[in-house]
């Protein structure tokens, strides 16, 4: 019993099929609870007015935008070191979800910034590093799309993800040096133990964050399943074509799982 048994596509398909419905329902429930609670049943902030309600979208999506990249980094490392195909496909599956999360964080931030800061966009360190993260996602996805040989694509995108992570981190601190920020500090207590958000706002925010996290996991599972199936489909089609071109097409295709 170890986590590596899920590296077997068949095992992964079985477990994820069992896991996916419950996870999706749970994710939907959490997101709905967090957003409905946040939208309908929280008071307005005395300074920000009703725009404080945007926090239930902005903070969770920003959190998942970063965590999605971290997950891709871990998955890429596993692929490069242990060469489990499921891992590479999971990284590929996660990228578009992370991209959407980044866009949501940027869009909600811009919409919130217009009345609060008086501008949709400012070259603030946090905003700038998110824009850079957005570019990294675009490049990663584009590289996957561009390369035809799937294993080579997995290799190269993994290397890009590793190098990109280093440079993303570097940019994060470089932009601090470059411009003073408008953006407020973190609203989620992790290390400080102190919280800048009052309880009335915080409880629905937790629901929303957990919900976005679960939603991300569910989407990645679903998309990874799709990628595995697509891989198998291409293998079967290729075998079929090979059989068609041969004179005697009665060679039995072996029943191996996709790879």
């Amino acid at each position: 019993m170890s986590i590596w048994k899920y590296a077997n596509p068949t095992q992964f398909m079985r477990t994820s099929a069992w896991l996916l419905p419950g996870l999706s329902v749970l994710a939907a429930l959490c997101v709905a609870t967090g957003l409905v609670w946040g939208f309908f049943f929280t008071p307005d902030d005395f300074r920000q007015g009703s725009t404080v309600k945007i926090i239930y979208l902005h903070v969770p999506s920003a959190l998942m935008a970063i965590n999605a990249w971290l997950m891709m980094l871990v998955a890429s490392l596993i692929w490069l070191i242990r060469r489990h195909h499921v891992s590479a496909l999971a990284a590929k599956a996660a990228a578009p979800v992370g991209l959407v999360m980044t866009v949501i964080a940027l869009a909600t931030g811009a919409i919130w910034g217009e009345p609060m800061w008086g501008t949709y966009w400012a070259w603030d360190p946090r905003l700038t590093s998110f824009l850079i993260l957005f570019l990294f996602y675009l490049g990663y996805i584009a590289l996957w799309q561009a390369i035809e040989t799937q294993d080579t694509a997995a290799d190269l995108t993994s290397v890009l993800c590793l190098v990109g992570s280093v440079f993303a981190l570097l940019s994060r601190y470089a932009v601090n040096f470059w411009n003073q920020g408008l953006h407020q500090g973190t609203s989620v207590p992790v290390a400080t133990g102190e919280r800048s958000v009052a309880d009335v706002f915080f409880v629905p925010l937790v629901f929303s964050m957990v919900g976005f996290g679960l939603l991300f996991v569910a989407l990645v599972l679903l998309r990874t399943r799709t990628e595995i199936r697509s891989r198998r489909l291409h293998a079967l089609l290729a075998r079929e074509r090979a059989a068609d071109t041969r004179v005697a097409p009665n060679t039995p295709p072996s029943e191996s799982p996709t790879s």
Partner: protein
Amino acid sequence: MIPDLGKYQDTVLSAYGISLLLLAAIIGLSIWRARAVKRQLDATEARTNKRQ
């Protein structure tokens, strides 16, 4: 139904609108592609099994 959002109504509603739209898009796209690939795979597998 919709709570009183004061003068920031457009701001809040558009933020929620855009975000939910984007989420719906990525979820819809994932499910649609999952179905399409599963259908093609099932068809191809049936064909392969018949040949044997």
